[in-house]
Symmetry: C2
Subunit: 351 residues, 2 copies
Amino acid sequence: MIKRRKTRTICVGKVKIGSKYPLVIQSMVKLATTDIAGCVKQINALSAAGAQLVRIAIPTRQDSIAFAKIVKKVKIPLIADIHFSPDRAIEAVEAGAVKIRLNPGNIKDKNDIYRIIDCAKAHKIAIRVGINEASIRNLLKDTQPAKRTNLMLKEMAGYIRLFEKRGFNNIVLSVKSSDVARTIESNIAVAERFPYPLHLGLTHAGLAEDAIVPASVALGTLLWRGIGDTIRISIAGDPVQEVKIAKKILTSIGLYKSREPELIVCPTCGRCQWDLIGFAQKVKKLLKEVKKPLRVAVMGCVVNGPGEAADADIAVCAAADKGFIYKKGKKIATVRQASLFVALEKEMKNL
Amino acid sequence: MIKRRKTRTICVGKVKIGSKYPLVIQSMVKLATTDIAGCVKQINALSAAGAQLVRIAIPTRQDSIAFAKIVKKVKIPLIADIHFSPDRAIEAVEAGAVKIRLNPGNIKDKNDIYRIIDCAKAHKIAIRVGINEASIRNLLKDTQPAKRTNLMLKEMAGYIRLFEKRGFNNIVLSVKSSDVARTIESNIAVAERFPYPLHLGLTHAGLAEDAIVPASVALGTLLWRGIGDTIRISIAGDPVQEVKIAKKILTSIGLYKSREPELIVCPTCGRCQWDLIGFAQKVKKLLKEVKKPLRVAVMGCVVNGPGEAADADIAVCAAADKGFIYKKGKKIATVRQASLFVALEKEMKNL
């Protein structure tokens, strides 16, 4: 199975990030930070959905003031998202941020970066040291997209030296791009070279329907190689969706123990003699009430039906007229196909 | 970028499968094969959506007869999906199938397999030699799921020997499982050991909303390693969706040249002072009319807006009041935020 790349352990409040600890799911608040009640509600929703860290943007002094109030109203550790202004970073740390997200390329004066580092050190908080391809676009100039990985790696090396020289290594790294191939390549390159945990994400991935596939491909590929210690799915939409997709990606490769049931359904073909897809949709609705990791299989025929049933907690399989129910692979009932759903519902209640 | 694993080339009618050729997208008819008009319509829809091969189930003699009529009515090469019956395989080949999908484990008598092989050889067609974890469940018995990869590999080796001994090697291999980790592991194992092209799929992945993430993770991970020559996304739903998801997966890692526009959208955060997500949804609707690979970016603020604009054919970025339009990275217009959509629409028409 997956062997995680060995990294240092980074402390982010009560959360630890690194290869010794489970993958950490994070997301971001999408409301104006000055909307304190709205932000608190969204942060709590993200926490309830399974986020372990939530990031929030602090672009202005007003946002710093609001952030200080929000920190006190929520239980989940907060990360301050900082660009351009060292003052905002320091205000956020003093207000209780457990981590700062910083793209050092956005802060011109080295001394300002040192000021943030010293403040983070004094408060024992973490810093994410990030590069976003779009943020360093000036630096990349006319470089062909496919050739930018090396430039991004070089830039990252410079940032890391800056932090290490100042005696600070409670850092998480991120290299982001809206391009899947560059996201994979640049993260592999950074993972090979530096011992720090990695924050993975495919940036600016788009609306949910556009983002799910490329985010799953990019993060799945990296995670399978053991790369990645905290992830954030970026979609233009409800951040709770981001957390749900993150959980699905991690669950699919055994990096997260979902408490949700799993529904195996055959894709159907000419062999299927009943409305399997409609049936599966009804089972899906039933499962919305279930909060344990049940494996349920809805299969169309005998080709793979009994086989999937063997690995499922409960399964059904049917022909034109008859339907069969299996529990842990053992056939426990044969009913008319038309009565199969009611029979399954009853069996599931018994579980 | 991706370096495909070297494989033999397999001829499937006019389609070639193997590392010298682009990835082949396939899907499967989900109607009763005897519904000839329905099947022809679905096959044509799959072809129009981008499938290069379509598979169809032939469980009974009536299906063989219907298949013979369907073959004559469509242009796209058809694959016959055969289980249990060697007669159905031979009828399908004689009717014009360019490939047979066979899980040899389902055909008890070796001589029946030889009969199919000889017929395929005489008609110069291909055979997919498949294993499905659920199909060989009896063989796997009480083996823990995580330990089944070796058994599946051993079984596959036996099948391949059978075909090679009979002097037939126009074969494509597949090892399928509804488990992502096992799908990845067993395909890596088969790819390392045999020179034949690989058909990738995550089987029984479920309803579309459940299947997209695990299918993208499993296939993305394998494809990034250069493994996979033809793919089929299996979802319990409209097969045209299967083709669309397949295209998205391949496009995301540069293995398919999409003619569809790409919409980059920032996920928004507290910095965003306008309804970016609503705006992006409107742009998405506009793009439905566009049939060329345009890269469009809708960005919320100056942090990454200009950077993404530099890589986009057309981009917008806005603050509370003002909106900016970029063409190939150059700012070409500054308008009131409220007029931004109309201005963008006009610019897109000029493209």
